[in-house]
Amino acid sequence: MTGNGLLRTDGLTCDFGGLRAVDSVSLSVERGAVHSLIGPNAAGKTTLFNLLSGEFPPTAGRVYFEGRDVTGLPSHRIPHLGIARCFQRNNLFPKLSVLENVWVARFSRSRPGPLGFLKRVADFGAIRDRAREIINDVGLEAKAGAPAETLSHGQQRALEVAIALAGEPAFLLLDEPTQGLAPEATERMTQLIQGLARRYTILLIEHKMHVVMSISDRISVMHFGRIIAEGQPDEIRRNADVQRAYLGVRR
């Protein structure tokens, strides 16, 4: 299976002892697209993300990014490929300020050279400015100096996305960015993602169907670890298998 997918997986599988959490997933995300991954709870979506972002290696299968085989790379190498991840549960640096959270993510991808470590954090004007830009983009300017742990849940979700953006990625893995958000905040986050869609390729896990349907170019449906359907939003809406898989799932 070829094609110019920016990110492509081939038979990706993940076993935990006797449990097959991800079952032979072959997925291709086109450059510039917003590709959504939906499915009932415990379908294996976050596990798939964990495989893609290097949290643990797959049991079988391969991952290709920009045509290169990146299967099994450890998680600290992934950002340097141009892939950034935002987590389902807030995964921040609690006692660091919002600015420091984003700064640290930005610095990792800049190339300061060994002499850079002799400078003060305060001396890196370019990084600080870029960090502030990103913080403004996600709407957290007022909280730039506040410790991440003091933020509300919605603000922390925004920070999650900001940290991912700070890595100047080409590809974003967004894991339920609207998780736990009230309708207003969900709307803001959706608009944010729509804005991001113009500049980044996005693989998005979401449960809120109206969000998924409105911004996705393509949707893959996972159930019991495997892809049971894939296509454009309208096709998926009409697909019988998908409806069956979702029976009993509200939202």
């Binding site: 949290e55 950002p79 991840r85 987590f87 660091l96 470590f117 002799l118 954090v121």
Partner: protein, 325 residues
């Protein structure tokens, strides 16, 4: 935060180094700064990076013995010994750190402790080299050779000045490290190691770097100690000293730049004062540790902050009371 507070604190520190030998004997004062360096080093890996090492005495002792032997057998100069301390401390930490950092949390702590004991037993049994239980005696105090100038450091006060100057230089170095990107990276590792990796940092490598830097600082402190009394006692490499260093960081306040300095001063001064009165000084130490851990985990820095807050509140209430009267 304005530029004023940090400058004020720095000025206060320099003032403290000038005043200290007046408040306590120069020997005790020198010990305070020496252990402040070791405590700063532990603070870097514990307070900033989140790794509790219970074996810092390994580097303190190895460097002390090395310097002592260099001065006895090779008549090595002062600055050469200091350099040797840095190198030996860093190398030892690099090797031991490689083993210990493979494992997380409790494993790491236990491993640092066990390696400490390993080196302790070597020092204890290798009496031909280290003198074992009796220590390594006969260490001269070489003069400070700066080009054509040779300044003898034969009095306690002179040696104190030297130690204080070295301390201030090291403090500045530590300050720069902590304020550099490295400091923020270390903190991010402490706060959330998996996210630190997820944004692109090789966490193990950075932990190793922190550990090695701490080893270098601690080694230098060990060299300064070796020249204090003309003898390197076995205690320099014992786990008791490791525990003392942990104490100082905890009592002073973890993760604050000035915390370990306050802790070292408090610890050394107290131990001097109390051990004269009662041989069972470690009992008080143990009780203090238990109380701090249970009730005052932020150490003296937090205690001071709480005090300031309480005083501010009282002033506010008094002011409000006066207004409503």
């Amino acid at each position: 935060m304005g530029r004023q507070r940090p400058l004020l604190r720095l000025a206060a520190l320099i003032g403290a180094t000038i005043l200290l030998p007046i408040l306590v004997r120069p020997v005790v004062a020198a010990e305070i700064w020496i252990f402040a360096v070791a405590a700063m080093a532990l603070n870097l890996i514990f307070g900033y990076t989140g790794m509790l090492s219970f074996g810092q005495a390994t580097f303190f002792g190895v460097a002390a013995y090395t310097a002592g032997l260099m001065m006895i057998h090779w008549k090595a100069g002062l600055l050469v010994c200091l350099l040797a301390g840095i190198v030996v401390g860093a190398l030892t930490a690099a090797v031991i750190g490689y083993f210990c950092i493979q494992r997380l949390g409790i494993y790491f702590i236990m491993l640092t402790f066990c390696f400490n004991q390993m080196f302790f037993f070597v020092a204890y049994k290798w009496t031909s080299v280290t003198g074992g239980d009796d220590g390594l005696p006969g260490i001269p105090r070489p003069p400070l050779a700066l080009g054509p100038l040779s300044i003898p450091l034969n009095t306690s006060l002179r040696y104190y000045v030297f130690v204080a100057v070295v301390f201030l230089v090291l403090f500045y170095a530590m300050k720069r490290i902590v304020e550099s990107p490295l400091g923020l990276i270390f903190q991010s590792i402490r706060e959330n190691p998996s996210r630190a990796a997820a944004v692109g940092y090789d966490v193990k490598r950075f932990k190793w770097i922190a550990f090695t830097i701490a080893g270098a600082f601690t080694g230098l402190a060990g060299v300064l100690y070796s020249m204090m009394f003309g003898i390197v006692p076995l205690e320099v490499i014992s786990w008791v000293t490791s525990g003392d260093i942990v104490f100082m960081v905890l009592i002073g306040g973890i993760g604050h730049l000035y915390g370990p300095l306050i802790g070292a001063a408090a610890f050394k001064w107290l131990s001097e004062a109390v051990s004269v009165l009662w041989e069972r000084w470690p009992l008080i130490l143990g009780v203090a540790l238990v109380l701090v851990v249970l009730f005052l985990r932020g150490g003296l820095v937090e205690a001071l902050a709480r005090l300031r807050l309480a005083l501010a509140r009282r002033r506010l209430a008094a002011g409000a009371g006066a207004e409503s009267a």
